[in-house]
């Protein structure tokens, strides 16, 4: 039996397996692509109203306030752009959507309400295209299906955009349990077996974000060059702490949570939920219930996760995860291309600025980043590895023995970069092989970082690295790299000044002053030349801001940025 709410019209089922969607069998084409796995791994998307009923109601959340906060979904509903991601496609940016698609979005839907995709054969190709947009612009992950096998029914109302279960996982198997206090004591592994995605694990969180914000070939989330060329706004790079802050975050980091019930062995105790688990008929054994939240989540790790500098953790973890996501995207696409399943070359996999620069005379060359391969061949983009040294040097400081492994990883990364330029656009097979070699090394790096501790010293170390010339292998002549660096400096500085992470937290005068200073670090004549402020909230519109943001890319002044960095480096601490 499957624990679902009574509103069957809104209940859908999904196969939720981040990477295991390929090996299904089935009869018709759609089912072959997206047919359910055996029932034990079948997860269902609940009605999102079920989520909102509690999570946007501070009264309902009263008992969990210490652990969760009072109304996280309100922030998502009222401020966060994720809730608008489909509404924008069909509403405000409809003209651009149609222009990119080459047809009116309405054509692929059954009715004017645009809730169900058309099953007509003559629009099948268009439906397929729109579905790939919806992988990011709605909650409809790869592999998820309607319980009746209706491939054209979205698994969550499209109008909700990227909604709760899009990131937290399909809730059918854990919805009943997750509101109980004993859920805090359930081990990570047991939770994930129920389809719950543990976003408190910063590696997982960064992975979920980058699956759209960087892209994922496996998840069919990939903005191709032809979409960009047709007008899709460029993806702006990704730095987790900055993007979270601007979203804004609807969560609190562990450090800012009070000593909630069940936190550690010394906190107020919570029951083991034995009776509940029977009633819910949920697959959580007694062994999955740990003594406390700390042990359920951090096991035997070094003590201190509750004291982690939250942004430092996010900056350094995402430094590695972003690179991994990009390498996987490139590798997966190249592998598919090598087998003839995808076109090659796919321009979106190269450094945009390699082609999209003005043709300068010789003096302009000095302003362009120097690369490893021969000049004149589109290279691996610089920005995904911009902050890599930050993560690497953090690990070495924590564990000197990791230096050798990191050097091997660097060698593999350089091999991938060389594969990109061994010939113009590289050879798909060679790129796939190089990415394949790099992937497990990056997995190991991400895993180690996730388990690492991020104290004040880690914050200072990372900051010093970024503001000291020559300390890290970062080419500031690249606009997207400069943004990654500037974002990281700002977020790390906030941690350094102990500015609360939680959105809407009250700041004292000193913190307020420090925050204002930090936010002015990369302003120039009262403007934001690096466009560090993102159109992330509902009151801003990326399409309106495009002319300015594209101009900023073309007019980037590396000399000015370098000067700003050295000014920050010269400031007394």
């Amino acid at each position: 039996m499957i624990p679902i709410s009574g509103q069957s019209a809104f209940v859908f089922c999904a196969v939720f397996a981040l990477a295991a969607f390929q090996a299904f069998c089935g009869t018709d084409d759609v089912r072959a692509q997206e047919s359910p796995q055996p029932s034990e791994s079948r997860f269902y998307f609940n009605d999102t109203d079920d989520c909102l009923r509690c999570h946007s109601n501070s009264r309902e959340m009263r008992d969990s306030a210490k652990f969760i906060g009072t109304a996280p979904a309100e922030i998502w509903e009222k401020l966060d752009k994720h809730s608008q991601s489909f509404l924008l496609l069909k509403g405000k940016s409809r003209e651009l959507t149609n222009s990119i698609l080459g047809f009116d979005l309405r054509e692929v839907f059954e009715g004017d309400e645009m809730t169900i995709l058309s099953s007509e054969e003559k629009v099948a190709e268009k439906v397929k295209l729109v579905k790939s947009c919806l992988r990011c612009h709605a909650t409809w992950p790869m592999g998820s299906v309607h319980p009746l096998g209706k491939p054209h029914h979205p698994v969550v109302d499209l109008n909700l955009g990227v909604s709760c279960q899009g990131c937290h996982g399909p809730a059918s198997k854990w919805n009943g349990a997750h509101s109980k206090m004993w859920w805090r004591r359930v081990s990570n592994e047991a939770k994930s077996k129920l389809g719950f995605i543990d976003l408190r694990d910063s590696v997982v969180k960064a992975e979920v974000c980058t699956s759209c914000h960087v892209g994922s070939a496996k998840e069919e989330r990939f903005v191709r060059h032809e979409w960009y060329a047709a007008g899709h706004p460029p993806l702006p790079g990704f730095e987790l702490a900055s993007f979270s802050a601007q979203m804004p975050a609807h969560w609190k980091p562990l450090r800012e949570k009070e000593d909630f019930e069940g936190r550690t062995a010394t906190s107020a105790p919570v029951p083991d939920g034995a009776a509940d688990r029977v009633v819910l008929n949920i697959n959580i054994s007694d062994a999955d219930i740990k003594p406390s939240y700390q042990e359920a989540n951090f096991g035997s790790l070094k003590p201190g996760p509750f004291a982690d500098q939250p942004r430092t953790r996010e900056v350094l973890v995402s430094a590695a995860v972003v690179l991994r996501s990009y390498v996987n995207l490139a590798g997966d696409h190249a592998a598919a291309a090598a087998e003839g399943r995808q076109a090659w070359p796919e321009f979106a996999l190269y450094d945009c600025a390699a082609c999209h620069h003005e043709l300068r005379r010789r003096e302009g060359l000095a302003a362009r980043p120097m690369r490893r391969g021969p000049p004149g061949r589109p290279p691996f983009p610089l920005w995904p590895s911009a902050l890599f040294d930050l993560a690497a040097q953090h690990l070495v400081a924590e564990e000197p023995a990791s230096e050798g492994r990191l050097n091997e990883l660097r060698t593999s990364l350089h091999d991938l970069e060389r594969a990109y330029t061994a010939r113009p656009f590289g050879d798909a097979k060679q790129i796939a092989a190089a990415a394949n070699k790099l992937a497990p090394q990056l997995d190991a790096l991400c895993g180690e970082l996730g388990k690492s501790r991020f104290d004040d010293q880690a914050t200072r170390r990372a900051l010093t690295l970024l503001v000291t010339e020559g300390r890290a292998e970062i080419d500031l002549r690249d606009y997207s790299t400069a943004r990654q660096v500037a974002w990281a400096i700002r977020e790390l500085s906030k941690d350094e000044k102990r500015i609360p992470y939680e959105f809407g937290a009250t700041l004292d005068g000193r913190q307020q002053q420090a925050l204002e200073h930090i936010e002015s670090l990369f302003r120039r004549d009262n403007s934001d030349p690096l466009m560090l402020s993102l159109p992330a909230r509902q009151d801003r519109f990326v399409v309106d801001e495009l002319p300015a943001s594209l101009k900023a890319m073309m007019d980037y002044d590396a000399e000015w940025f370098r000067k700003q960095i050295s000014l920050i480096g010269a400031q007394p601490k």
């Binding site: 651009l96 032809e226 005379r361 004149g376 061949r377 113009p424």
Partner: protein
Amino acid sequence: MQHDPHAKAAAMLVSPEFQEIINRLSQGKDSSTSSQVYLQCAHCHDPEGIAAAGDEGVILTTPQSGQSQAARGIGCESCHGGAKEWLSQHYQRGISKSSLVAAGMLDTENLLARGRLCASCHVGDGVRDMNHDMIAAGHPPLRFELAAYHRKLTHHDPATARQSHWDDARPRIATSDFETRLWAAGQITSAQSALALLESRARRAASSAEESPASAPWPELSEYDCFACHQRLRPTAGGGKLLGLGLPTWGKWNFALLLDQDPLFLGDLRREMHKAFAAEPDSAERAVKPARAAMMNAYAEDISAHSVLRQLSKTIGDKPSWETLCHRYLGLLAVEKAIGDEFQKLELAGSVSPHQRIGFNRRRKEIDQALRAVGDSLSFADDKSEWPRALNTADGLTRANAALDAAAERLEVLQTYAERGQ
């Protein structure tokens, strides 16, 4: 000859700019040393050095500043042919051209032979290959047009002290429409050179999968339209069409004027080069062979200003592009000069009335101004940016094309003056 820029090639070899390009190119190649890179440069920049080193297996290296530059760079024999067999004869009276040619002197008075010679470096050929790697390292892109380059040489500019060491006055007077025949020879020989270059690139790319000094990058980006990729980022760049975007056009500069006659000369080559992003090198090599053969017979001896003007009176290709506009503009300049030459001959023969002269000069001045404005809009905006002005506005190319339509119409009227006296 001392005012000819070719004479400065030896000095160029020791310039910091030259060294910087070589360094950038060498740095990028794990397997290639700078002497291999230098050899590639030397085919055009240092043919004297190659000739001196060639037979003895000497490894040619970059000349060092301070060393003697004698016998380096571009010398007389680089263009006129090895002189061993004809040196003592060529200044003697009564010696026939055919016997000199038989002795190895190159016939630079033959416009096709001359064009081929110039294009072998200024476009490239089977041996000389200036590719996109080099452009990215700082070498200016090659955009050659024979008649315009002649004008650059023969027009004595005190600032650059450029001047050619030869004079085409004799054939200009003795034959009609010299300028358009020079222009046409340039079109044909550039296309021939470009095909030889493409064939060699395709062959080297196909025969050597590994990166080696002998291999060629593929796809070779300099074969394509620069501005297809090098675009400013702007909202809705593609004008709202999802499919078929992002593929650059092949052969826009060197085959611009063949667009309407592609099947005749290029056969399947253009289609082959537009398959996916680039054809496989071996199928490109196969398609280029018949094109090379067809191109050998492309030059018509009887080409006249009249026939060139007729060809250039309408838009080249489906819609104007920067490259086709440049060629149309340069072609019309050649037509204008040819008409001017012919009119001048009529004047010298005394068969022009003062009234005709005034009318001709007025009209020519107007056309001059109109063409100069188009030339301005097609040229690069400033010293720092290689960005033609016409690309800065949405309708820049359309307006330049319309201005050329009007100029072509006026040239037809101007031509009646040059024909009237005959």
